[in-house]
């Protein structure tokens, strides 16, 4: 195999692994829910992306035609990761999970207005 190609693949794989690791570390180490959410959604997505590019290049240069599976996986990943992050954040806001930064006043106000009745029961 071409030495240049090998170097390229190695760089991609190491970068992917590092991003994934940083993402996981962030999930474990960061201090509140909202910041932790960044780890798996940004870092890990990027890391997996690098690995997928490496995989696509590797399998496409083995004389078996262009490998398209990775494209599909990327597509799935790019659609699903933001949705799950969005839903997690939404749930956290709804449950008023504690944050390092106070919630924006506007959001709190809207929430209270929506659920006034429940507070009155409490």
């Amino acid at each position: 195999m071409n030495i240049l190609l090998e170097i390229l693949l190695s760089v991609l794989i190491v970068a992917g692994a590092s991003f994934t690791f940083i993402g996981s570390l962030g999930l474990a180490r960061l201090r509140d829910f909202y910041t932790r959410l960044h780890g798996p959604t940004k870092g890990t997505t990027l890391g997996v992306g690098c690995l997928l590019i490496a995989s696509a290049i590797f399998f496409s240069t083995r004389d078996e035609g262009i490998s398209l599976h990775e494209g599909l996986i990327t597509l799935f990943l790019f659609i699903t990761a933001p949705i799950s992050a969005h839903l997690l954040a939404k749930a956290a806001l709804h449950l008023k999970v504690e944050s390092l930064v106070p919630l924006p006043d506007e959001a709190i106000e809207r929430k209270n207005k929506q659920h006034q009745k429940y507070h009155s029961v409490d």
């Binding site: 929506q114 009745k117 429940y118």
Partner: protein, 961 residues
């Protein structure tokens, strides 16, 4: 093969009738007519040979060759007589029912049941193999259950149907025992060889037991004393059913067997005594009770019991001439009793009542019906120039003959004449009481003549009564002679079918019976008063009900002793029992725990996955009171299993595991929504300690067992599949070839079970409304934004991609990891995401709302792939494959198993969606009140309209305290 087709055509017709109702209300009647006519047209060419004296035996196919069982059919004179009765009276009843059923009744269902019954009955009379006969016998019990309980909303219908099924089903069980003994004695289950070895059978030591078992079946089915009481209770069925099953055909099935086995079983003292006495008692009690029944159908039911007793008694007497009389009376009774039931149905239909204390003077409103009833009733009473007279006179003559051989020659004729008097009396009553006897008043409806469609069937039957009565030798003679010959299996005796035999004892007995009947009828008022004192004192039904009640109490007390509704106790028993049994095996046989095989090295990756799974399992136990947390932890175990499958190169299994995991978690979440989020403490320290010990023992027991198995050398059948997968099944993916080819039949069973489970869940959840909690445990309300826009939009984008992947998996499944099951799961996951993201209501409008057709077509495709191999005379589900060369696409291999796989795929998708949609719909119902504007706008009244969670749960889950 003609006979096999003849028998199975009604079963196929039954399937079509239910479908045909979509083409219009009456189309199912047409389908039923065509079905009966088709069977009849197959019969006619064969009938010609049978009338010439032949016996046709057709071996259709092998059944269980190792037990000497074949599927075979037989047509001789006796079966021809019954086949004709079943088909012709069936046709007449089909036409009658078309006009009888009211617009509220489902016609398709009625005709489907009726044709099912017709096919089962044909099976009984045409079977050559007696085990095959028994299967059809039980099918008639089942189809008659369905027919009796046709009006499901009526309490007495379902009670009568249950009673009939219990009695006839129990009799069928006894008969199975009898048949097995008979087959053992005769050395064959084929009728032809059984009928030839009569002497050997009668001398065998097991003969008495076998006879009693078979007679139990016969007497229960033919409503003989003391099993007669189910028949009057079966009158809750629609009248066409009573006319067909409970007079002409099904109750004659027992008598058919008496006739069928007559050459093999009759002639011994046991036979003569048991059969004659049972027949005599039934004849008398039936005739007596019939007179005192005020319901027209009840009267006819008891008179049917009485006539069946008469026929049974003739077979008991057992002389050749008695058999002639019996066979002749079978024909005659079927004709006049079927017409009388139809006439009772007409009266009921036009006046709204069958109570003879209310009915009178209908002659003025329906003179033609009155005429028909008088002729049919006269035939039943035994008046000359009608068919009933002829066979009844033969019966009287036989009793005189038989009486001569007894100690008191006058006793038997005297008893029988007494029965004849009551028979004449109730026959007069049904005609006179209803149509004469004063002026009609206080009727629920103003009566008038029925539609022609209801009259024509009766006209046909009454016409037959007259024709047979006037020209017996020409109309009934040929049929009777072949039927008798094949019943006796020798040449028929000399007999004269004539109206006038000169003045003989039989004629005198007939005259006395009719004259006495008139006298009894005239003094009926006094008799009714007398009888009313004994009402309900000797009712067999009460004894039966008492016995059934005791049986239920007994069995429920046994059940409650084992299972006191505590799931913990059941699990406790189960685990302790398996620990004891497992351990005892190791203790009794002193095999070492570890086998000879050396362990594989442990790699860090596997160890880590195993550690994660163990940790997740333990935390599930620790956290089990937090239900949502426990669910998340348990799904971590599932993911660990999927990783393990990948490690051991089973990508199929890993994919399946992942999809199943996903679907399970979603379904559990939907169900958990209605349950409390935390489980309260339910057991004390001591019990917890006990449970921990049991759990540890059971768990380590399973671990030790796996260890013992895995450390031993053994060869699995897997090697065979791996080496034969490509050559035998045409696929390189062994797992898939195993599922759709080698073990295709298992898979067929599994998808059927899956479909049944899905439909069962549907039946339980359909229209169920549950109150849902308004807020979570900490009093926080749910987020009102149930379907976030971001998720809804993107999930729609995802659908085509996911479907493409699933179809890819389906198509490549035969050679590469994939297949119908996995593809089905992936499709379900893709669709479930749509339901979750967009809501059930919205998605139901875009996707097919009803997934039943999906399940049905899946099963149909899978089954027809299997049946298709019959066409090439291979066993069921044999698959074939072929390589095709298609330009552009290249070499393509197509296996018939792929069609089967498609069936699997459809069933999986259909079932999982069915369950999810219905769980989701309960959800939806409960969501509605909360998101309405009114609720949001009026916070002050909220405490009244939203009950607290625990209060809501108490309503929903009564056992929750």
């Amino acid at each position: 093969m003609g006979l096999a087709y003849l028998t199975f055509i009604p079963f196929i017709g039954a399937a079509f009738t239910t479908v045909s109702t979509r083409l219009g209300r009456y189309s199912s009647a047409w389908v039923a007519v065509i079905t009966a006519a088709a069977s009849l047209s197959l019969l006619l060419p064969l009938a010609h040979d049978v009338m010439a004296g032949q016996t046709i035996i057709q071996h259709a196919s092998q059944w269980v060759p190792s037990l000497g069982l074949n599927i075979a059919f037989r047509l001789d004179g006796l079966s021809l007589l019954f086949t004709l009765m079943i088909l012709l009276i069936g046709l007449v009843v089909i036409i009658y029912a078309r006009y009888y059923l009211s617009p509220r009744d489902s016609m398709g269902r009625f005709y489907a049941y009726l044709l099912l019954f017709m096919g089962s009955m044909l099976g009984i009379v045409l079977s050559e193999n007696i085990i095959q006969l028994l299967i059809f016998w039980e099918l008639t019990s089942l189809s008659s259950f369905l027919l009796i309980s046709y009006w499901q909303q009526r309490e007495e219908a379902s009670r009568g149907a249950r009673m009939a099924l219990t009695i006839t089903g129990g009799g069928g069980l006894a008969m199975l025992g009898g048949f097995l003994l008979l087959g053992k004695i005769a050395g064959s289950y084929e009728l032809s060889s059984i009928l030839e070895s009569g002497d050997m059978i009668r001398q065998h030591a097991l003969y008495p037991y076998m006879l009693i078992l078979i007679l139990l079946g016969v007497f229960t089915k033919s409503a003989q004393f003391p099993f007669h009481f189910w028949l009057p209770n079966a009158m809750a069925a629609p009248t066409p059913v009573s006319s067909y099953l409970h007079s002409a055909t099904m109750v004659k099935a027992g008598i058919f067997l008496l006739a069928r086995f007559f050459p093999a079983l009759s002639g011994t003292p046991e036979w003569t005594w048991i059969v004659t006495l049972t027949g005599l008692i039934t004849f008398l009690t039936g005739a007596y009770i019939a007179l005192f029944k005020h319901d027209m159908k009840a009267l006819l039911a008891y008179s049917t019991i009485s006539h069946l007793g008469l026929i049974v008694m003739l077979f008991g007497i057992g002389t050749p001439l008695a058999v002639v009389a019996a066979v002749f009376h079978i024909m005659n009774h079927a004709i006049f009793k079927a017409s009388l039931f139809m006439l009772a149905g007409i009266v009921d239909h036009e006046t709204g009542t069958r109570d003879m204390r209310q009915l009178r003077g209908l002659r003025k409103y329906m003179p033609y019906t009155a005429l028909l009833t008088m002729i049919a009733a006269a035939s039943m009473a035994g008046i000359p120039f009608l068919n009933g007279f002829l066979s009844k006179e033969m019966f009287f003559a036989e009793t005189v003959e038989h009486g001569n051989s007894m100690a008191l020659p006058w006793l038997l004729p005297l008893i029988v004449t007494a029965g004849g008097i009551f028979a004449a009396a109730y026959s007069i009553r049904i005609a006179h009481n209803v149509f004469f006897n004063g002026k009609a008043e206080d009727l629920p409806k103003i009566p008038h003549e029925p539609s022609r469609g209801m009259q024509i069937p009766v006209e046909i039957l009454v016409g037959l009564c007259l024709l047979t009565g006037i020209f017996p030798a020409q109309i009934a003679g040929p049929m009777l002679s072949v039927a008798v010959t094949s019943t006796l299996q020798t040449t028929a005796p000399d007999y004269q079918l004539a109206i006038w035999h000169g003045v003989n004892p039989a004629l005198i007995m007939s005259m006395v019976a009719v004259a006495g009947g008139i006298l009894v009828y005239r003094s009926r008022e006094a008799l009714f008063t007398l009888q009313s004192r004994f009402d309900g004192m000797f009712e067999a039904k009460r004894i039966y009900n008492g016995a059934i009640r005791r049986l239920f109490n007994w069995s429920s007390s046994i059940t409650m002793n084992v299972d006191n509704l505590s799931q913990k106790r059941m699990l406790w028993l189960l685990f302790v029992a398996s620990i004891v049994m497992g351990a005892s095996g190791f203790i009794v046989h002193d095999a070492p725990l570890a086998g000879a095989r050396t362990m594989l090295p442990v790699d860090p990756m596997s160890a880590m996955v195993a550690f994660i799974m163990i940790a997740a399992a333990i935390s599930t136990v620790v956290m089990h009171q937090q239900r949502f947390t426990a669910l998340v932890l348990v799904s971590a175990v599932g993911l660990g299993v999927a990783l393990t499958f990948i490690k051991f190169s089973a990508p199929d299994l890993a994919l399946t595991q992942l999809s199943v995991e996903f679907i399970t978690v979603v379904l559990l979440l939907l169900a958990l929504f209605f349950l409390p989020q935390r489980t309260p403490d339910e057991s004390d320290r001591l019990r917890q300690g006990r449970d921990i010990v049991i759990a540890l023992l059971a768990g380590s027991g399973v671990a030790a067992l796996s260890y013992a198995v895995l450390t031993r050398e053994y060869s699995t059948i897997g090697d065979y599949f791996i080496s034969n997968s490509v050559s035998g099944g045409g696929g390189a993916n062994v797992v898939n070839v195993l599922l759709v080819d080698f073990r295709g039949f298992d898979t067929m069973g599994e998808i059927t079970v899956l479909a049944l489970a899905g439909i069962g869940i549907y039946a339980m959840l359909d229209k169920l409304k549950l109150l849902s909690p308004q807020q979570d445990e900490d009093g926080r309300p749910w987020n009102p934004d149930t379907h976030p826009v971001v998720m809804a939009t993107f999930s729609r984008l995802l659908l085509p991609l996911a479907l493409m992947v699933s179809i890819f998996i389906l198509l490549r499944g035969h050679n590469l990891p994939g297949g119908g099951f996995i593809a089905g799961l992936v499709t379900s996951v893709a669709l479930i995401v749509q339901y979750l993201a967009n809501g059930v209501e919205w998605t139901r409008t875009k996707l097919p709302a009803n997934t039943h057709p999906l399940i049905g077509s899946g099963l149909l495709i899978a089954a027809s792939t299997g049946v298709a191999s019959w066409y090439f005379s291979y066993p069921f589900l044999t698959s074939t494959f072929h390589h095709f060369h298609i330009p552009l696409l290249g070499d393509l291999e197509l296996a018939s198993a792929m069609a089967f796989d498609l069936g699997v795929y459809l069933v999986v998708v259909g079932t999982s969606l069915l369950i999810l949609i219905n769980l989701g719909l309960i959800h939806q119902v409960s969501y509605q009140p909360r998101i309405t504007k009114k609720n949001l706008a009026s916070p002050t009244t909220d405490s009244d309209t939203t009950p607290s969670r625990s209060a809501a749960l108490k309503k929903v889950l009564p056992w929750k305290r």
